[in-house]
Subunit: 243 residues, 2 copies
DNA sequence: CATTTAAAGACTTATATAAGAGTTAAGCTA
DNA sequence: TAGCTTAACTCTTATATAAGTCTTTAAATG
């Protein structure tokens, strides 16, 4: 890529931002990597350090990069707390975040339904990995999750033993498949518990459940996971803060 | 306020940020006002323009200020689309935002319940204004709202005729009462429709509804509105994007 | 002469560069 | 281990140019 500072062109710092994003999405830098220092990048790109800084600052705000004073700037990883809580909005009644445990029910391959294929930008009938699991909060089964992944990207996940699946899948996606979830769009509805829901969660059939239909995207906007969670909200709720 | 640049003190730009916020919260500048230019503020505060700029930049990101190139920097207003959509997450099935109409059922004063008083930081038994209304989306009654406001801040709202209430209350709060909603915390649950819910929304009693319990806060963190929305999600859903 | 149009200037934010002092973390050396 | 050195980000100041908005002035037009 060539930078341009001609009149009327896109600002330099934005071009640099795009360039840095490209290096991440193309795998030149992977999560956890340290990137060159601001001075190194400035020299390489023939701009001033301040311009590089502005580009990096915006990427830090977007959770793409992480700065550590005295050490350097790193590609953000989604391990630890971030993996667990950044995309997890269920808290218990007194508002405290809780560590969910997971019990995988099944993990198998199948053909994508039309809707699934459409939402994941797959050709109709493409193979997907389908994971069913229950999440336990405060020792109570609270959430039923169905996860759909393109088999193309998550090849051997379909053959894996269900028990081998870790609690924090997004960490697994990142470390095992090089796929970093960067954004999620969620659609929330209230639905009635099916018989299966009811028996898994220990409720009456027809009880109201909170259904969260999530599409998770990578940094370049590719949808790579569908996740439908049906959640009992008698002891927990979905927390959202709007600024 | 005195700025300090001593070793170990809070960075200047943050102190300036606080100072600017204070001028807004104390009403020295009100929404829509233009604030002094970066150069003027820099001279007044004895710092460089770049430092003022950094403070302003963060406040723009927080939706406190708005920049208009060639004109100046203004205190953000919540009129127009922002008032309507920034805090409104219900969209219809194909994902398009819709303009909700409102039908006010009642608007009266009463004593705050314990929970209400606690959430609004009021002394127990303080007067509150209580608004009941229905919101119509796509010509279908979809949402039942109950709104609780401290009477102390919204004095004459309780005496107002119900029909005089506009659709976008947050605009009214700002223009009539000088209260700008800056942030909202929402707690979402699935609940069963009561008989009243059911008859108002034209559903069966016991149907699952999405309940959104919102606490709305001003810039300085004071809670000034409680709002409980019970929403039929058969034709609509709650949309949330996480980055 | 009155009105419209165009140019100029002033002011503001936006972008870019440069430089120095401060803070933090890691590794090396004694 | 204690202290030093180095390298990185952080904060602040300074300066210059670009670009957008508005007002004033001047010119052109009818």
């Amino acid at each position: 890529m060539v930078l341009s500072n001609a009149k009327g062109s896109i600002p330099l710092y934005m071009q640099i931002k795009d360039l840095l994003v490209a290096r991440v999405t193309e795998g030149e830098w992977v999560p956890g990597d340290i990137i060159p220092s601001e001075m190194q990048l400035a020299r390489e790109l023939n701009v001033s350090q301040g311009t590089v800084r502005k580009a990096i600052t915006e990427l830090v705000e977007n959770n793409v990069l992480v700065r550590r004073q005295g050490r350097g700037t790193f590609v953000a990883t989604h391990d630890g707390d971030r993996a667990l809580f950044h995309f997890f909005h269920i808290v218990n009644d007194n508002g405290t975040k809780i560590l969910p445990e997971s019990k995988t029910l099944s993990c198998r391959r199948k053909r994508a339904s039309r809707q699934e294929a459409s939402k994941l930008n797959l050709s109709s009938g493409a193979q997907v990995v389908c994971i069913d699991r229950i999440r336990i909060l405060d020792n109570q089964p609270t959430l039923i999750e169905t996860i759909i992944l393109p088999a193309e990207l998550f090849g051997d996940l379909g053959q894996r033993q269900a028990r081998n699946l870790p609690n924090t899948l997004y960490e697994l996606y990142e470390t095992q498949f090089g796929i970093t979830i960067h954004r999620a769009d969620e659609q929330l509805r209230a639905v009635a518990a099916t018989d299966r829901d009811a028996s898994l969660l220990g409720l009456e059939a027809g009880s109201p459940l909170l259904e969260i239909a999530r599409t998770a995207l990578t940094l370049d906007g590719t949808p790579v996971e569908l996740r439908i969670s049906r959640c009992s909200t008698s002891k927990h709720y979905y927390q959202n803060a709007v600024f």
